[in-house]
């Protein structure tokens, strides 16, 4: 099964479900959809007889403050063990309204992964049975993996990027 076939199958069965798609740097098919239809897509990928992406490998959040209106990403990675093909699904959501439906009904494995993502990024998984912090303490009032939270003293400058040929074009620095 090729990436092209996977995408064609989704488009054929659920037209308009994918809002974007690409082959990522590491050669994995990466598709994008909206939060309204994410469960429809995940359920289809999981239960379709041809696709059979039955295994939820991992799920995590990504934060990009410069991507206005699409600051937060939830990334799902699924794996079809029989045909040995992986797929990445991304949903972009605004940081001001960080809601997305929970995938716990599809995979019990999503439970802690979503709790971790909530804990790190404050993404609210609607319908999650127990959306509480999992790794950090309950009374923490920040979502520590968001880019605005510095690791150490934010006013400290260890390296001046200009002296290293990094003038903002090659990689953004957040420390």
């Amino acid at each position: 099964m090729t990436h092209e076939l996977v995408r064609a199958r989704i488009d054929q069965q659920h037209p308009g479900l994918l809002t974007a798609h690409e082959i990522a740097y590491d050669g994995m098919l990466t598709v994008e959809t909206t939060r309204d239809r994410i469960l429809e897509l995940l359920d289809f990928l999981r239960s379709d007889d041809e696709l059979q992406f039955h295994f939820l490998t991992t799920l995590c959040g990504i934060h990009d403050p410069e991507n206005t209106g699409r600051e937060l990403t939830v990334m799902y990675q699924l794996h079809n063990w029989q045909k040995n093909i992986r797929i990445r699904v991304k949903v972009f959501i605004p940081v001001a309204d960080p809601h997305i439906p929970s995938a716990t009904a599809l995979w019990p494995a999503a439970n802690w992964m979503e709790r971790e993502t909530y804990d790190f990024y404050g993404i609210l998984f609607d319908g999650h049975p127990n959306l509480t912090r999992i790794l950090n303490v309950e009374d923490l009032d920040v979502f520590p993996l968001r880019k605005e939270y510095k690791l150490e003293d934010g006013t400290r400058t260890d390296k001046d990027d200009r002296f290293f040929g990094r003038d903002g074009n090659t990689g953004r620095s957040f420390d």
Partner: protein, 401 residues
Amino acid sequence: MQVQSYFSQLDSLDGELATLNLGPTHPATHGIFQNVLKMNGEKIVSAEPTIGYIHRAFEKLAEHRPFNQITPITDRLNYCSSPINNIGWHMTVEKLAKIEIPKRAQYMRVIMMELARLADHLVCNSVIGVDTGALTGFTYMFQERERIYDMYEEVCGTRLTTNVGRIGGMERDFSPAFHKKLQDFLKTFPAKFEEFNSLLERNRIFMDRTIGAGPIDAERAMAYGFTGPNLRACGVDYDVRVMQPYSSYEDFDFIIPVGTQGDTYDRFMVRQEEIRQSLRIINQACENLPEGEYHADVPDYYLPPKDDVYTKMEALIYHFKIVMGEVPIPKGEVYHAVEGGNGELGFYLISDGGRQPYRLHFRRPCFIYYQAYPEMIKGSMLSDAILTMSSMNVIAGELDA
């Protein structure tokens, strides 16, 4: 049966359920986990696990460090098999930077990773023995693990948090002392291991304690994201080394043992067989260890020899740039998985071309499968729950990241 119900009545305080706090620090849980158990006598009605006691924010730390300085973080994930984590991380960066590793370095990595798997399984299985009341095997197997740590020390100077290898290959070639220790180990270990095996494998007490303890079926295991020996004990032969071979695993002849019941005994047996298979792989890698370089020719990523740094301008520049974290890294998204000691250890790396990752997510196998623990121990005895936990090989460092 009547005797049992008489005692359970006594223990449950007039028919009420008792709450039992197991952990966070409890001698039987081998790590810092808390489980609040609702007990009906000695039977577990429900369990509520709490984790995060040694959370060190590795994913945040990784966003603030150059790529080579992330290796010591990976040491502290599954610290029973650090070399697998280290090498898995190096391979992730190499995938991003498109670095080809010489065959010799790949085989050296396989030897290190299989030694690590062996050590990891030895700890887990001998601790299962301890939790059933058989301490003796544990003391002997820890002597054997010590010999593996001596070999680590030969290769990288450290024993537990190994930081072995570099981006681009291995840090140094195997020394004659390492080869001697390895050959000695390969010669004497199997007999000792089989002796350990004979203490437990068909031991009536051990079998009675472990067969049927903490079972999970294949379908549930997949839904819960199981990988590694715990999944294979349910009868699913998924192994990253075979599915997506890395570091030349396709060159080696080995089998993937599977169980049938998915209980503590099967998990134990799968690991026992994997130890034998790891020995086979190490033997093959030693016999066929190719000649050549132990690292790729990538001066941008791989530190030059120290002598050259003192005498040659070129080497000094590369040395400075690497140490300062100024290596050319392409933009891109990479997922790389290795078969860790307890399952699929994945590195999801997003690079924006900067000196540190934009995002690094660790797919930590035991964080994902430990969720199934309450379901696996529900309705079982407290002593079975302890056994189930040790047979799942949950490592606190990896669980909490």
